[in-house]
């Protein structure tokens, strides 16, 4: 298992999607301020499912700009019931629009990219549960889109991540990296003494 950022240690964080915004989601449905927020903003976005998805797509492209808007599964993660964020989705969309209207007088989806960026930054600067929801939304977006979690082969061309696949070429190390130069130390067969 790998250390640090390597899969094994990072595996140590693999519970994150079980937890991502989990506490936020639970708190959102369980605590009084959250219920208040839900009531104030409505549990259903005023624009319906189509408008909701457009808002979430705009959010995804704000978090990961440069991504093709036609990227498959662009907004799938927000409604994926495997992750607790699905319970926050309606609130989150409503809050994006509420902040957009407060800051720029228009719905989030109608804003230019710099204004969308400012709205998301505003949400991340909020306090308490709202901030946790925005933290989780950004976190989940980056994981889903950079790592290509819904298509093992897709990867993410934007960041040059090729994804998985059964026909990857064998080692091309020598052609693409420094010559292997060792200064051997006190070891036997690669093991420490």
């Amino acid at each position: 298992m790998s250390p640090g950022l390597a899969p094994k240690t990072s595996l140590s964080r693999r519970r994150f999607l079980g937890l991502v915004v989990g506490a936020a989601g639970l708190a959102l449905t369980g605590c009084a301020p959250a219920r208040l927020l839900l009531r104030l903003d409505g549990t259903r976005p005023a624009t319906g499912a189509e408008g909701r998805d457009a808002t979430l797509a705009a959010f995804a492209l704000t978090v990961v700009p440069g991504l093709d808007p036609a990227t498959p599964h662009l907004t799938r993660v927000y409604g994926d019931r495997a992750y607790p964020f699905a319970r926050c989705r309606e609130f989150f969309v409503a809050d994006l629009d509420r902040r957009a209207r407060r800051l720029y007088g228009a719905r989030f989806v109608r804003l230019a990219p710099p204004a969308r960026h400012a709205v998301v930054a505003d949400g991340l600067a909020a306090r308490g549960i709202t901030r946790r929801v925005y933290d989780g939304a950004v976190f989940l977006t980056q994981i889903a889109l950079y790592a290509g979690i819904y298509d093992d082969q897709a990867g993410c061309a934007l960041i040059d991540f090729p994804g998985g696949g059964g026909t990857l070429p064998s080692f091309d190390a020598r052609a693409a990296s420094p010559a292997l130069t060792f200064l051997a130390g006190p070891a036997v067969g690669g093991n420490p003494l």
Binding site: K8, S10, R14, G148, I149, G190
Partner: protein, 506 residues
């Protein structure tokens, strides 16, 4: 692989199928014991179940964790334990790891057990896993860049040994190897155990151990996930716990009311290799390395700082999932949050394939962690971030930063994040190399099991996994756990060559 009609009694019940349990199940079955091996997690068919993926849902099926703001431990629950998902690097622990002492100067390892006495068992484990030092031409780019930078500074590096045959360098070792090259226990120990007559039952968790009146134990097994399955009780003359550092301690703690002689050390003395990680951008004069190519582990390690800092240093492959789920990255001098999301973050992520290097150090940190049970019987972790631990982390982080800076790299500022993507409030460690919750010792006042893995005061009850290892190792722990399990298995056979529980039936 599941036993279709699990027996209600057996000679030896092995609980857990990782590096500890697989070895014991195999050796005892080969010696003629009627062995039932029980695994809490699901069965795994390497040809069907492994994927080349970054999908967290896939990993969540097999990998679990326990932790808090100070320390997070990840462990596997699935047939073969961690062997299905490890990086295959198979290192013997350094001699100095066995000579560590506690605050009163007493050796952590039991009398007579050290690197020299464990070497024959290491050799056996290496043969069984087909461990070989990686060939120079197979060292992945991450390791090449790492070796290149260290050699420029005059530091030594070594090619690491791996449990692999026919590696094609696809780079997805930790997601399971779809080519069958990784020598997980699914390819050697477990089939051999079954061939020798061991029965294997997956999806059942041992929830309680109770001694029988004269000899042996009664173990309650409950379905781990399938609500339609029924639990049952099994009697065994020998019971071998191998559920890992978390699982074995949890089971013993749950069973304490029925095990009156159990040492108060159960759950204590947890060690975790003190992993410290940093990352940075490569200097312009360093050629590109395609860090996504080649096996997951970089192929190269350095023991240069074992004597001076008590650490082994290596590099790590950082795929997008690991980068995002691991930390928030920024460059020194930038406004905080400048790269939290948006174009700045994309720019940073673009650099990880060719221009970023992650350094990792594993250290000989003292066994200070504790596992307890909460009111619901779930494991809970405690670790005090004391002055010595903070000093260790700072000293090692400064060492790694110095290596990067003197190599011309530009180190990132890192904020490690929790499962919600939020930075931890203080120093944080994470590990897959946790050991020691039921450590071997000379006396029950100092540990839970004797040097042969037998629980003090409870004859016939053994622990054979990482929980028995008394100290941090400063290297990946799998080979040491397997070697020690082989030693324990052969010790059981030396002391109890023939066993038949009266009334045992298959």
């Amino acid at each position: 692989m599941n036993a279709s009609h699990p027996p209600r009694s057996c000679d030896t019940l092995v609980i857990g199928s990782g590096f500890g349990g697989a070895a014991v199940a195999r050796r005892l079955a080969e010696a003629g014991h009627h062995v039932l091996l029980v695994e809490k997690g699901p069965a795994i068919d390497p040809g069907r179940d492994f994927r080349q993926t970054q999908d967290p849902a896939y990993f969540r099926r097999y990998l679990k964790s326990v932790g808090n703001d100070a320390l997070n431990l990840t462990y596997a629950e699935g047939l073969g334990g961690g062997s299905a998902f490890y990086e295959m690097v198979s290192l013997r622990a350094p001699s100095r790891a066995f000579e560590q002492v506690d605050e009163s100067g007493r050796r952590l390892w039991p009398t007579g057990l050290d690197r020299r006495t464990l070497d024959p068992w290491y050799a056996l484990a290496e043969r069984e896993l087909h461990v070989e030092q990686i060939a120079p031409e197979d060292v992945p780019p991450t390791g090449r860049v790492f070796a290149h930078l260290l050699s420029r500074l005059g530091y030594s590096t070594e090619r690491a040994p791996y449990a692999v045959q026919g590696c094609v360098g696809s780079g997805w070792c930790v997601a399971g190897c779809i080519y069958g090259a990784k020598q997980s226990l699914l390819l050697n120990y477990l089939p051999a155990a079954r061939e020798a007559g061991a029965e294997i039952l997956t999806g059942f968790e041992a929830s309680r151990i109770r001694p029988l009146e004269h000899e042996g134990y009664e173990v309650t097994l409950a379905p781990a996930a399938d609500d339609t399955a029924s639990g049952f009780v099994i009697r065994a003359r020998l019971v071998v716990l191998a559920g890992g550092t978390v699982g074995s301690a949890r089971l013993l703690l749950r069973s304490r009311p029925w095990l009156p002689c159990l040492s108060h050390q159960v759950g204590r003395n947890l060690a975790w290799n003190g992993g410290v990680k940093i990352a940075g951008l490569l200097p312009d004069d360093c050629p590109d390395g395609d860090m996504y190519r080649g096996r997951s582990h970089p192929g190269v390690v350095s023991y240069e700082f074992l004597a001076s800092h008590g650490v082994m240093v290596t590099a790590a492959k950082a795929l997008p999932l690991q980068v995002v789920a691991g930390a928030r990255f920024s460059l020194p001098g930038e406004a905080p949050g400048a790269r939290r999301f948006g174009a700045g973050h994309v720019d940073l992520m673009k650099r990880f394939r060719h221009r970023a290097l992650v350094l990792v150090a594993f250290g000989l940190t003292p066994p200070r962690g504790t596992l307890e049970l909460d009111d619901a019987g779930r494991p809970r972790l405690r670790l005090e971030l004391d002055r010595a631990l903070r000093a260790y982390e700072r000293r090692v982080r400064e060492l790694l930063t110095s290596i990067l800076e003197r190599s011309g790299c530009r180190p990132f500022d890192l904020a490690w994040v929790n499962g919600e993507g939020r930075p931890y409030p203080d120093l944080h460690f994470s590990s897959t190399h946790h050991v020691g919750s039921c450590r071997m010792a000379d006396t029950p006042a100092r540990g839970v099991v004797d040097v042969f893995g037998e629980v003090f005061g409870h004859p016939g009850l053994f622990v054979a996994d990482g929980a028995t290892i008394p100290s941090s190792l400063a290297v990946n722990s799998s080979l040491t756990i397997l070697a020690n399990a082989e030693r324990i298995a052969h010790g059981i056979l030396d002391r109890r060559p023939a066993l038949t529980l009266e009334g045992a039936s298959r």
